[in-house]
Amino acid sequence: MSAVASHTASSAALRFARGINVGVAVFLVLYGTIAVLQPGYFEVEGFLNFLRRAAPLIILACGQLFVIAGGGFDLSMGSLVTLTVLGGSMLAGGNPENTWWTIGVLYLIGLGVGLVNGLVVTLLKVPSIIATLGMLLSLNGAALMWSGGAPRGYLPENFRALGRLVYRDVPVTGIMPLSVLILTGFVALAAWLLHATVFGRQVLAVGDNPRAAELSGVPVGATRVLVFVISALSAVTAGILLGGFAGVSTAVGQGLELQAIAACVIGGAQLLGGRASVTGAVAGALSLFALFTLLNLMGLPQPLRETVQGLILIAAVASSAWRMRRA
């Protein structure tokens, strides 16, 4: 087929241009600016510390990405983070011996939440935006009910270490935060699941056209449920890191779900499914976090930071929409 041959080269070039992620570009610009203001960020240590703080958001974005790729939304992530932190303190009660089974129980709770989200969407046919909004309200209420409205215990030190511990005197990098190791593992896992497994392709197919997927034999319901489970489990992971990093409070999870969605979209994921990349989501989350950091460093008054954040969000997404049309 001569037509194929003649077009492949130019098409590949264009495809590559399209492949450069807006998220990556935005992140590089923002981080570069931070580092200029604050040279510490240019050092490995500065970057690792930055990663340590950004880790929960990156993990949330990766989890959310699966739901978005499958055509849905998960608004319940933030409140699940809250439940994880409050629940973790209730279960462990400050006793280091309780840490490991507490983490196990938290993951079980996450599994349950993901299953309920998924089943409400697939069986009750409630659109995920509403299903997970309802879950957001309920989980928040449940977390506060469980803890009586305020944290009732501490997270043990070994639990905290997951998000707080920093190994010193590490060769090459100098320091190595434990949470960065966890983050790396998690991102690798997510990238593998979405991009290097049959399951990942099934998710994208389901997000793109569930009916076509169904008629091709893809187990649409199961795929949807799994996607919500993945999202919930990543929320628990992020909760464990956040609780570890910062300790217990009732507001930890607030608003994280929208940040995660925004990160995915900046990273080029298509809301309502069919197009998603883990690299993009990670870059998007890093961009958002870099933006928060930069706005802090620039010392803009708080309100103007919100304004700048809004502008950048729109600009990033508009530019990728524009490139999409051009390409």
Binding site: H7, S11, A12, V198, D208, L215, G217, G274
Partner: protein
């Protein structure tokens, strides 16, 4: 034929998409009172040319003249105001709105600032009568069959009292009877002085109504000739660039017929009743029937999409409980839907991902997506086998022409290679060469011992390809015909005026 100056002429139109030169220096004109047919292979650029005319795309080069005046459309509404009405290849109706709402969309009559519903109802009723659609103006479009929707789409195009009417494969979804009615309508419109651009892959239609025929190939104009000067074989040669010796494949060898693979006894559901049929390895069984006869429903029932609720079904002699498409595929049944856009393609995924969808649906979730028979080379072989024309196999499938999309979806089933294949309107919107290729593929599958149920509204194809023909009428199998039956035999049964032959 009138010798008047053309109302429409397009000069040197060029249009490119990412890496695809869809149109290259195409010129074309049309006079009033003329039917100008455009044909060409899938992806030749026919629809793109019409979209340029309709203001959907802006051409990269060239100009459009209306009554001699150059004109540029920035929005479809401008083309409509200029008197150009287009029936697009892809249905663009609003499923949740009434038929009348759809017909008058963008042209709503008002009285005192408010919608004049009575006028809409009456106007819609007249237009529906004109196109021969038996639907109520108040019915919701989602409750109509694809064919009825196509007729509504045509009525909608007529609502705009246009000078120039473009029809992009209007009969693809219609059965013989409705298609015939539409062709009569086209002739009426021509008499009334409209300039009509008509796109179709059905040779018989072109011969019946076209005054002139233009052939496109790979985005370029091949030739424009008076229809009288062309035979179907010549048209095919212009389109494909070579002769197409055997359009229909040879019949199957009855001696090589295998055992019964799929058997249904006394099955039924809300639409179907008393379905009894046997499907044997190595045969192609055609299912004919008018729109609404339930032939589509039969395919969906066998595939578990809208399952049978009573009766018995066996596959390879085993009782098969088929309650979902996945179960059907697992039991060895494949299914090609007649609604490619809604049920066939995953639009933003690559050709490779689309062609591998079914294989991956049954592969281990955690396997690499390219492992085993899902390897890239296997996918590419499959795509090459069905002769997909694309810029590359990583291209998103939504960028392909309809015919090429269909080939990819067929490729998906070839890759899985099920025992029984149900093809629902397999060549809807597909060009002659590709049709021939698909028929050969089907015959090849049958020869390798697969059983094929080909459900189609295209009578020539039913007669030319099938080893046996089942004819449906009002949800039942009205009768069975052997190879060699005539179109009249089929229509008799389909209309309920025929006699049932004893099953052979």
């Amino acid at each position: 034929m009138s010798a008047a100056a053309p109302v429409l002429s397009m000069r040197g139109i060029g249009k490119s998409f990412t890496g695809v030169r869809a149109l290259d220096d195409v010129s074309l004109d049309c006079r009033s009172g003329e039917v100008h047919a455009i044909c060409g292979e899938n992806g030749a650029g026919k629809s793109t040319l019409m979209k340029v005319l309709g203001g959907v795309y802006r051409p990269d080069e060239g100009e459009i003249l209306l009554g001699g005046q150059p004109i540029a459309f920035r929005h479809p509404v401008e083309a409509r105001r200029a008197g150009i009405s287009i029936i697009h290849q892809e249905l663009s109706l609003l499923p949740e709105r009434s038929v009348a709402d759809n017909i008058f969309l963008g042209l709503e009559p008002t009285r005192g600032g408010l919608l004049d519903r009575a006028a809409m109802r009456n106007g819609a009723r007249k237009l529906l009568e004109r196109v021969g659609a038996r639907v109520q103006p108040a019915a919701l479009v989602k409750s109509l069959s694809i064919a009825e929707q196509q007729l509504v789409e045509i009525a909608k195009a007529l609502a705009l009292d246009a000078r120039i009417i473009v029809m992009d494969e209007p009969t693809a979804a219609l059965d013989e009877r409705d298609a015939g009615r539409l062709l009569d309508l086209v002739c009426t419109l021509r008499r009334e002085g409209a300039a009509i651009l008509y796109i179709s892959h059905r040779m018989a239609e072109l011969k019946a109504i076209a005054d002139r025929i233009t052939v496109l190939k790979d985005g370029k104009l091949v030739a424009t000739h008076p229809a009288a000067a062309l035979t179907p074989a010549m048209i095919v040669r212009l389109m494909v660039g070579r002769d197409l010796a055997d359009f229909f494949p040879p019949p199957g060898d009855p001696a090589k017929l295998g055992p019964v693979v799929l058997s249904v006894q006394g099955a039924g559901n809300a639409i179907l009743s008393d379905i009894t049929l046997d499907l044997r390895a190595g045969e192609i069984v055609g299912v004919a029937g008018l729109e609404g006869s339930g032939k589509g429903a039969l395919g969906r029932a066998l595939f578990g999409d809208e399952p049978f609720t009573r009766g018995r079904m066996t596959i390879d002699g085993q009782d098969a409980l088929i309650a979902s498409p996945r179960a059907a595929i697992a039991a060895g049944v494949g299914f090609l839907s007649d609604d490619r856009k809604k049920e066939g393609i995953a639009p933003q995924q690559s050709l490779r991902d689309n062609v591998l969808m079914t294989l991956r649906a049954f592969a281990g979730r955690l396997l690499p997506p390219g492992s085993g028979d899902m390897a890239r080379s296997a996918a590419d072989r499959q795509l090459t086998q069905v002769d997909v024309r694309a810029a590359g196999f990583t291209q998103e499938i939504r960028e392909l022409s309809g015919g090429n999309q269909q080939k990819v979806v067929i490729g998906r089933w070839l890759a899985r290679d099920p025992k029984v294949l149900i093809f629902l309107e397999p060549t809807r919107g597909i060009d002659v060469a590709a049709k021939a290729a698909i028929y050969r593929l089907m015959r090849g599958l049958a020869d390798r011992g697969r059983a094929i149920l080909m459900i189609s509204s295209d009578l020539p194809e039913i007669i030319g390809v099938s080893d046996r023909i089942l004819v449906m009428h009002e949800g039942c199998i009205a009768g069975e015909l052997q190879r060699g039956a005539s179109e009249e035999d089929v229509m008799h049964l389909a209309l309920g005026t025929g006699t049932t032959e004893a099953a052979a």
